[in-house]
Structures are given as structure tokens and as C-alpha cells.
Symmetry: C2
Subunit: 228 residues, 2 copies
């Protein structure tokens, strides 16, 4: 008898438009024994809604919703991730193929990469299936290149030293920019000639484009591109 | 009579694995009147071979191969891009929907973004359809996150001041790293504790993974990730 080993696969669903999902992401969902979503009410999760648009069969899948509270408290976060691992452990033990859906790409700021460590520690196979990252989706939405020739690209965030980061050469991207929009505006004001592009909810029904650093909304799903 | 206006669409086919193409890229190829490839012998182009793996109907499409010589001479490059635009102009004028295939994502270091300027100047509609960028594909291949929490990511290249760039916080990516591998090794040697990961031909038959900065091959399609 061949033992069927559980697998934990992080699958990126891209930034919002179901059509930006990859063929591999679609297949992984179709082949999954269970689909895990980063929200307690699985069917309320953004990643679920995106994936459902490309894979109607997802509606008939076994779902598991896990809560990952937004917190700056690392201990609290780690305890929650461990508790979440405990919630899916029995399915891995039973040999299930578990697909964890994540917005964008699982290699870019995804909590999944913490979760998979627990599975690996117990000898389960894990893997990552790419999705379109939000910053390239924002550039495509704006119909502009993110970088040309030898331009550099710098991916910053609210915790970055924004004044120093924005002074680097090339294109600067600030992800999850809403909560730091004031700090960002202040830093951009010190860069004469900087061009600002921002997209909220790229590829989703609430999508909006902004070109004025002083008019950015406080939304979490906001990607800002600052060009020299 | 409604005039049928030509369209020029840059479509990313991802780094190599046909299954990493998006549903939208597949549809765009299927709907194209003509598929343009960044190599004179269209069927020899890497992007053609990748796309064919996901869209067999591509074999029956009208193809147009254009040469984009690798050159540091900007005048020569600009003349070639203009000449290439002249080659596809009549098709735009005839109202065709032209899909230009590019490896990775058309927003990231794609010559297509220069070509589309000519079409826009003549009033033709252009757009960009994302593909998976090679650096996230490399991270997924290595089964590691590119960034977590508030880590920054810096996309560098052979023209960057590598010593300064690699000293930035977070993950550093060097794309098209082969030609600058010596310079890169020298810069990494000055960073004690830096972890190096490299993938050549990610998702293609010749794929190889390297972990020693002194053993990198000189290949063009080499992505290097340097972590603190």
C-alpha cells in the first residue's frame, strides 16, 4: 500500500481580475481536496471571490476558513499561525492535497510562507504557485512600463524609510500604501518632478486610479508607483 | 459603417512554463488576428515556444517575427524599433488586433513599451496583459518567500551600482545577471552572511538552480536573489 502524503500548496490568484489567474492556479484548485482561505468566513474572502470567477467548480469544494488577524504583535501573529496550522493538520495527516489561496503572488508578502514552515517541519511537501503581483497589474492598468532598459525598481512599504527609499533611482512602488498615505505624501513632496500613479482595488469592481499624492484613499489594497 | 481600428497588445507569457500563462494571455492569443514575436524567425522565439505549450492554436496563426538586436547603442535601438513599427503599421491600418508576445511581464524591462509609443502616436489603442515576472517564478521554484512582513525588495541589474544596491535592506534581485556575474560575485563577497539563490532558465527544459555566487553561469536568462 502506498501511503498518500498530504501536501500544502500556496496558490496566488492575482490582484483581482479572475482572468489574470494562471492555468496552473486553476488546475491546482480543481485538483485540491480542500481549499483554504485566509478569512474565517471562507466565502467572504477576497481570494475566494476572485478564484470563483475563473473556477466555478470551487463552489463545490470543501473549504476551510482561517483567520489571520492584522497585527504588529509578532507573538500574537505566530500563535495564530500555529493555531491555524493545527486546524489543517488533520487534513494533511489524512493525505489531503490542500490549496491555500492568496491574493497576488504567494512569494510577495504572503502569510502563507509562515504557515508552510510548520508543514515542512512535519515532513509534508509544500509548494508555491505564482500569481500576478499587484504592482505589475497596477502598471498594466495604467498602461505604463514599470521599468525600461536598466531602470531599477524598489519595493517599499509603510515601514520603510520613505524619504531614503523614494530617493533611490528608478521606479519606487509602495504596497499596502493606504495606511501610510500621509507619510508618503510628505516624502513625495520633497521630490520635485516625481510622477505619482496609484491604483486602488486593481481589477476589482471598486477599482480607482489616482495621480495626486494628496488624494490617496486610506485603503489597504492601494498600490502606489512613484517615478523619477 | 463602423471603422475597425487596429490594436496593439503586449502580452506576457511568463518565464518559461506554459502553465504559468494567465487565462487572459491565452484568450488574447486566441483572439489575435496576428501574433508578433521578438525574433526574426518567429517560430524560433522563446516566447512562441512557451505560448504554443498553452495555446496549440497559435500554430495556425499569422505570425510576424521582428528583430530587436541587443545593443547598448540607443540610436541604433531606436531606429530598429521604428523600423519594426513600420513593419506592423499596415496591419494596424487594416484594423487588425495585433498581439505581441513577450517573456515574463510586459511592464518589466520589455522593449514592447517602446514599440507601443509609435502606435499611440498614430492614435491606435494599446494595452498590456500581465505575465508572471521571472523573479517571483524563481522564488516559487526555490520554494522561498521573496519578501515577508515589511521587507523591502530591490530590483537591480548589471548597470546598477551593485555594491550600494546589495547593501540595501531586504531582498535584492539581479535580473539578466549572467553578463555581470563577476561584478556581482565581487559585490556579494563584501556582504558577510548574504544568502544567494539563482535560477537559470526558470520553468524551461534547461532549468538549473545555483547557491554559490562563484558558480553562476554567464547566461542571459539568469535571475539571482540575494537575501540578508
Amino acid at each position: 500500500m502506498i501511503e498518500r502524503r498530504g501536501k500544502l500548496i500556496g496558490v496566488g490568484v492575482g490582484p483581482g481580475d479572475p482572468e489574470l489567474m494562471t492555468l496552473k492556479a486553476v488546475r491546482m484548485i480543481q485538483e485540491a481536496d480542500r481549499v483554504i482561505l485566509p478569512q474565517k468566513e471562507a466565502k467572504e474572502a477576497r481570494a475566494y471571490k476572485i478564484a470563483l470567477g475563473a473556477v466555478p467548480a470551487l463552489a463545490g469544494k470543501c473549504l476551510l476558513g482561517l483567520d489571520f488577524p492584522m497585527t504588529r504583535d509578532k507573538d500574537l501573529r505566530d500563535r495564530q499561525i500555529q493555531a491555524n496550522y493545527e486546524s489543517l493538520r488533520s487534513y494533511l495527516k489524512a493525505g489531503e492535497k490542500l490549496v491555500f489561496l492568496t491574493i497576488g503572488d504567494p512569494c510577495i508578502y504572503s502569510t502563507f510562507c509562515y504557515l508552510k514552515i510548520y508543514a515542512e517541519e512535519e515532513g509534508y511537501q509544500t509548494s508555491l504557485v505564482n500569481g500576478i503581483p499587484s504592482f505589475v497589474a497596477a502598471a498594466a492598468r495604467l498602461n505604463i512600463p514599470l521599468c525600461l532598459d536598466d531602470e531599477e525598481v524598489h519595493l517599499l512599504n509603510g515601514k520603510s524609510h520613505l524619504a531614503e527609499g523614494l530617493a533611490l533611482p528608478g521606479s519606487k512602488i509602495v504596497m499596502k500604501a493606504g495606511p501610510c498615505s500621509e507619510k508618503l505624501a510628505e516624502a513625495v513632496d520633497k521630490l520635485p518632478g516625481a510622477r505619482v500613479y496609484a491604483v486602488k482595488d486593481c481589477g476589482l469592481p471598486g477599482e480607482e486610479v489616482f495621480n495626486d499624492i494628496h488624494e490617496l484613499p486610506g485603503d489597504y489594497m492601494l498600490t502606489v508607483i512613484v517615478k523619477e
